[in-house]
Amino acid sequence: MTGKIVAVHGNLVIAETDTRVVQNSVGYCVRQDGVRLLSEVVRVRGRLADLQVFEETRGLRVGDTVEFRSEMLSVVLGPGLLGQIYDGLQNPLPKLAEQVGFFLQPGTYIHGLLPDKKWTFTPEIGVGAKVERGDVLGSVPEGIFKHQIMVPFGWQGSFTVERVAAAGDYTIEDEIAVLKDEAGQSRSVKMQQDWPVKLPLNVSRRRLMPTEALTTRVRIIDSMFPIVRGGTYCIPGPFGAGKTVLQQITSRHAEIDIVIVAACGERAGEVVETLREFPQLIDPRTGRSLMERTIIICNTSAMPVAAREASVYTAATLAEYYRQMGLDVLLLADSTSRWAQAMRELSGRLEEIPGEEAFPAYLESRIAAFYERAGAIELRNGKVGTLTIGGTVSPAGGNFEEPVTQGTLKVVGAFHGLSRARSDARRYPAIDPLDSWSKYAGIIESSKVSRVRSMLARGNEVRQMMTVVGEEGTSTEDFTVALKADFFDNCYLQQNAYDEVDGATPAERQKFVFDKILEVLDLDFGFEDKSTARQTMVRGSDLFRNWNYAASDSDEYRQLLERIDRFIATKGREE
């Protein structure tokens, strides 16, 4: 099945062919020097097939051959995915570096798993059992997890187990079971299987309402704008406001089984930080290196654009695969705007009718479909698996009234909007406490959260008013409200990501500190004048901030807590 190139425009190639061509199937553009460039069919018009090429098209000529395949762009699933660093098309980057050195090389593709590695298989099913796609046949240990070997997800109908491999060591290419389908045909099962990245992978009894809080140890998120396992959220923000740092600390501290980091069209340097640091960092929950629960998919901004578009789907597919094992998975995509821009670039070359800011008309539905891949599902064996998706958005000019932000806000369950004003003033994490929202319930009682939110809103009103009437035109009472809002901001919402202790606050500590702070906020200080009010609140802030830096159960922690209690008992007159 081949065709001939008739046009090249950026990463878009138009080929003429007489053969059968499948939409979204894989193709290879063959350069004069024999190098085969992976591509995907994105449009078919008569005898013309349009392909987006996942590599630079430099050197391609009119008349060059295109080979068409019938399969869609797929990833390989099986043991050995965890700890890997892949490009957007699942090429393992460390192996690629071994083979071709410092630079990526168009046309070099490597198997995503280790074909020779032996895994210790334990069968978990007997001959004669009836199974369907996704059912567990056995398992192998993969790091800290029991990696389940399942009936291939693409197999329709029911099967009878004819043979299962005995316990022992096998490679992903060895046969570990034989299943007989309803027509009596025997089919061989291996530990590895393929799945097309653009199709959601969800083999389950039903979808569940996501309700279980996902603790990130970032106070403003967990306490004020929580996320849940199986939920979705987005982080829009202008450049430099802290989207990536927020995702990095979440990838470290989130209380979750598996984290998939999708670095999509952003800086390579940021991925380097993760991939150099994670192997050294110990996950306190498991005592093992963080890398063992992490997969990095990286298609950074200098890598080919079409592969950037594919990379988020690659990431979603790997995440869904582990969800099928009943695990809780978190997918962090940075940045979904780059993915949207990749769609825009292709759409422009296809000369489709553009929508707002030249994004294609189907932008919103693509965004919705992507976030729809998140969710909590009840598997056929009754276990529950979840996939949480958090995406950053990089709006042009920092203006949230743009198509990607707006399209995302319609579909996610929580919105962590970063503000330029807050990041300029070094109030990190720069999540705007007035604009952000979450539809989920978190670790703090919702009545308490709304009390604090309305206090923040009132504090803001007073501040606004003060810009008109000045401090002198503001009553001491109102002034105190503004001070209390600042106090909450300084001592609770702001968090120093680079401090060992303050950088990550566990849920229990959050609840305790939140209640302490509420005691202060509820105090009727009865300040005589504004200057006393300010001085008192400065001292209170100082106490709480130092408390945040003190390790739980340290002497310093206890001493500060005593002083805080005295501060509250004496309405700030003593500490």
Binding site: E56, V272, T300, Q341, G348, K530
Partner: protein, 433 residues
């Protein structure tokens, strides 16, 4: 035998479409017209129609002028003989000396494999406190100066360039005024670095699109030196001129603009250049500093906006000072934890207080009464601007940190600074109560 094509079907803007076969995408061609020879690059293939972007422009090109294809992408000869030389935007000598004979390297090589990058960790000391304390520059960083016409951005670029102590300095000028080019030359000469500098200069008098190759030339050469283990510093000015040239081509090619006439792939185009900044694992490094003039002093303009999303921070140069707000070095935390234990505390506290000072100034300007607290902030702001922010200040990092402590102690009580107790106890320059 040299094969020529002379069936030109379209000449528009800086793009020429010629009928030809066997041409590779991205390949280079030479267009010969009455005005001489110009390099051109294939930007679209459609059947036998080959569209070329002509670097010297198409003024005076006739529909039967001759195009010769070189069957290779744009290249630049690479060797030590480049040092001390000056070239134009197409890589031709502009210093009156002969061409450099050496093995050519391709422009626009593929991306570096991320696993072959190191984590950058070497601070570049500039002697400018607004950089050293608040937004430390790090070797291999890509960082633009955001500014507007009239600000001394080229001076700042040259000053940082000299302080950086790089093995090789490469200057890429795009739309550069001839005077500015000479100033760079003089600065390099006085700094004694001319012998390890290479310049690719496109001046305002040259054809606009000829500047499109300048970043690629600089970065391809720089990359080769970095692969040899050298520390390379690339200075690019002005990247807005480069982006405007991209826009021009996009419009001629009838691409649908995404934002104020700029093509939808502006981000990708810029990123492919800036991402060349690298600290190789097992070789040298390349740092990229650029100037981006903001049309209308508007940071949301597509050029600074896209740049800000790509680069590892930015320095805002305004009123002759590096603005603390908006300026950012994303790599600062890789180095500022290892300088002195109070570095980060000073960095955070001074900026937060300065932000409050600005609020107080606004209140004052609206005629409101100043509280004691406001007065403290105002006093602090004045001192901070004079002794730290002023660009003429040129002192090493530790001295600058000490100076910040002195200013804080002169203006505030310890708790008012928001600095944690342990740090205060160690560094507060006055006795504590």
């Amino acid at each position: 035998m040299r094969k020529y094509y002379d069936d030109i079907s379209r000449i528009a803007g800086n793009v020429v479409t010629v009928k030809a076969g066997g041409v590779g995408y991205d390949d280079l061609a030479v267009l010969t017209s009455d005005r001489g020879e110009s390099l051109a690059q294939v930007i679209r293939l459609e059947g036998r129609q080959v569209s070329l972007q002509v670097f010297a422009g198409t003024q005076g090109v006739a529909n039967n002028d001759r195009v010769r294809f070189l069957h290779k992408p744009m290249q630049v000869p690479f060797s030590d003989a480049l040092l001390g030389r000056v070239f134009d935007g197409s890589g031709r000598p502009r210093d009156g000396r002969g061409p450099v004979e050496a093995t050519p390297v391709d422009l626009g090589s593929p991306a570096v494999n991320p696993v072959k990058r190191r984590m950058p960790d070497k601070m570049v000391q500039t002697g400018i406190p607004m950089i050293d304390i608040f937004n430390s520059l790090v070797e291999s960083q890509k960082l633009p100066i955001f500014s507007v016409a009239g600000e001394p951005y080229n001076e700042l670029l040259a000053r940082v360039g000299l302080q950086a102590n790089a093995d090789i300095i490469i200057l890429g000028g795009m739309g550069l005024r001839h005077d500015d080019y000479l100033k760079f030359r003089d600065t390099f000469e006085q700094g004694g670095v001319l012998g390890r500098a290479i310049m690719f200069i496109h001046t305002a008098a040259d054809p606009v699109v000829e500047c499109l190759l300048v970043p690629d030339l600089c970065l391809a050469v720089g990359e080769q030196f970095a692969l040899q283990g050298k520390t390379v510093l690339v200075l690019l000015t002005d990247m807005t001129a480069f982006s405007d040239a991209l826009k021009e081509i996009a419009i001629v090619m009838e691409q649908i603009p995404s934002n104020r006439g700029y093509p939808g792939d502006l981000y990708t185009q810029l990123a492919r250049r800036y991402e060349k900044a690298v600290d190789f694992d097992g070789a040298g490094s390349m740092t990229v500093l650029a100037c981006v003039t903001m049309p209308g002093d508007d940071v949301t303009h597509p050029v600074p906006d896209n740049t800000g999303y790509i680069t590892e921070g930015q320095f805002y140069l305004r009123n002759g000072r590096i603005e603390p707000f908006g300026s950012l070095s994303r790599l600062k935390q890789q180095v500022n934890g290892k300088t002195r234990d109070d570095h980060r505390s000073i960095m955070d506290a001074c900026i937060q207080l300065y932000a409050l000072c600005r609020e107080s100034r606004e209140k004052r300007d609206m005629g409101f009464e100043m509280s004691d607290w406001d007065k403290k902030l105002l006093a602090y702001g004045a001192l901070f601007e004079e002794k730290i922010m002023d660009l003429s200040v040129n002192i090493p990092l530790f001295e600058a940190l000490d100076r910040c402590w002195a200013i804080l102690a002169e203006c505030f009580d310890p708790a008012e600074t928001g600095i944690r107790r342990a740090t205060i106890e160690k560094h507060w320059p006055k006795p504590l109560s």
